[in-house]
Symmetry: none
Subunit: 198 residues, 4 copies
DNA sequence: CATGAATGAGGCTTCATTCAT
DNA sequence: AATGAATGAAGCCTCATTCAT
């Protein structure tokens, strides 16, 4: 790519650069191990601007880790059978962005020494995954089943972005989809989207 | 007796106390958020002794997370069908220990900002879980299937010890075992241990 | 009309607004605790204009505290017996101005960490009070007597604008005048203005 | 004096040195204009020790400015006529300590941009001076009379330690006592301690 | 051997000030 | 002429670590 020599005097661009750099760092090493100077250096600007634009490192983190708050189109009106698959894509979205994009889930996990992050992680997991899965279940142990499937998405994320286990790191969404759909059907008690078998 | 009232620990006991305190703290909040003074206070000794006995916080962490690595009896000679269930117990062991015991996986995850931890996490996951699962598979995508099941164990651990999702946090191993055995059978292509269905 | 809705101040008005805002802030919390952005916000203009118009915060302060220094009509030609009373009015003038006016003495006191302020405070005290009192005295210890009376005016000012002691804060000049005239007469060795006794 | 080459590894001595240095600086230029590094340099120790021994700059200030809290022997049982004189000594105590001692009143005044300091100043003034004066008065305007005399002590302090007016700065307590006793008698309506006239 | 005083590096944050638009 | 983006210095504070005692 053609890196511009210096992006200057552009509020929106600087803010975005800081946010991107923060997302990348936070996703890579978490909150504590990231210094505001690191972020600023990556963004190519002065560290003071973080406070100008975000108020504090903490608020920058909140904003950077809340990308997942994109409403997660929970299936407008197509068959609910495809909802699990769509959430799998959400949890693995990192691929499309490239590494620099930053997976909010990873960032939150790596920053979980902070109590606020644990809370945010918990509520975000519920809103994004558990709640949606739960609505599909019509069996005993609804909550447990939903959380078990959510846990799997968490684990897939960890394996890929933190532990870097080889097979899962190399796999793309389509490689995993058939397995996921089978297990989702089993846990939630729903029929799989098609009749495909891996 | 002539010994002063304040108990005078011998070298081994002090070392062990420090190690235990370190393990507990690292499991709770990870490397960065744990200070040597925290550990020393928990152990009831002076912080300097950490450097005397371990050289540095870093080496204390290495040793503490080594200790966390127990050989995991990989199924001595009983039916291999029970191996997944045994590894589920390993991943959920936290309950029996109480919080202070320290879940190796949790500690490593919370400290994953450190590159060494990632490597250790990766190799430990492989040795403990992936390798064992892999040996049970006799289908294409052996590695991927093994890692997918491992990812689930990771996720269950995270959901319980970090995110604290309600249903999974309250569940005990026996609540989860039936689901796990079904999914394991599905992913690994092995018959479930009994004919039980949840 | 073609002028944009946001009022476009002319140079003089902006300068005056900054000066007024500066005077008020400096009087309230002194030099160190006042930031240029505070002043600019109060004046409703951009902080840069402070540097454009005054060069630096320091020079703004100098000018603002110069403005505070009004010539103090040292008794044109009426009976000198009324001079102390007039100076009491000067020292308590804050009431008439309202808070925003800025009491020179208070501003200088609160900014006395700066050496320049101390000098200015010293010379201003001399010019305004000590010198005038001294000329009334025809006894030994002229200077000391004049300074003792000046010190009282300082203390009254501090009690009212900084320490906020209740009775003195609520009192108006007329409540204090009789006491002051008695003490002034005693210290300066002059007859009191009238024969009034409190 | 024979400055010790280096006072080392002595908790009490280091703490005392820091406190003395802090008192001096705070008395000289107030809270804002004093940096912890300044204090530490004056004390000849590392700035970190301020946090080790006092917790924060703020708590160091509180401790340093509370010296006046020495109970101020409010006249055990001798004639109350001597109380004003004793309080004059308190307000001028700086002489005995030398400049380095630090007058808490001065420190509080120079730090009055901080709201906490204003409160502390107010309550300390009341406890030390106003309340004691008030008890001597048996006339109307008790509170006002007491505050007026207190204001004078404040002003004398300011004139000597901040404004440095020449005559008052050179004077010692005995030079001022006769004037003070006369004025105190006048304001409080009490007979002067002896029959002395200046 | 053990205690704890001392240190230096680095973290977050705010401020006055300059420079491009 | 005026706005506000950018900067560098400095401030408070915490941490791991070393050094006397």
């Amino acid at each position: 790519m053609t890196t511009p020599p210096k992006r200057k005097r552009d509020r929106a661009a600087t803010r975005a650069a800081l946010l991107a750099a923060a997302r990348a760092r936070f996703t890579l090493v978490g909150y504590d191990a990231t210094s505001v100077r690191d972020i600023a250096r990556d963004a190519g600007v002065d560290a003071t601007l973080i406070f100008r634009y975000f108020g504090s490192k903490e608020r920058l983190f909140e904003e950077a880790s809340q990308l997942l708050r994109e409403p997660v189109d929970t299936g407008t009106d197509d068959a609910p059978a495809y909802l699990p698959t769509r959430l799998l894509h959400t949890a693995m979205r990192q691929d499309e962005d490239g590494t620099a994009g930053g997976q909010p889930l990873t960032a939150l996990l790596l920053s979980s020494s902070r109590p606020q992050c644990r809370e945010q992680l918990n509520s975000q997991l519920y809103d994004t995954y558990v709640r949606n899965f739960e609505e599909l279940v019509d069996l005993p142990d609804r909550e447990l089943r939903a959380e078990l499937l959510t846990a799997w998405l968490i684990g897939i994320n960890v394996a890929r972005s933190i532990a870097h286990t080889p097979a899962l790191s190399d796999a793309c969404v389509n490689d995993i989809t058939p397995y996921f759909e089978q297990v989702a059907a089993l846990l939630l008690g729903t029929p799989p989207p098609g009749e495909s078998s891996p």
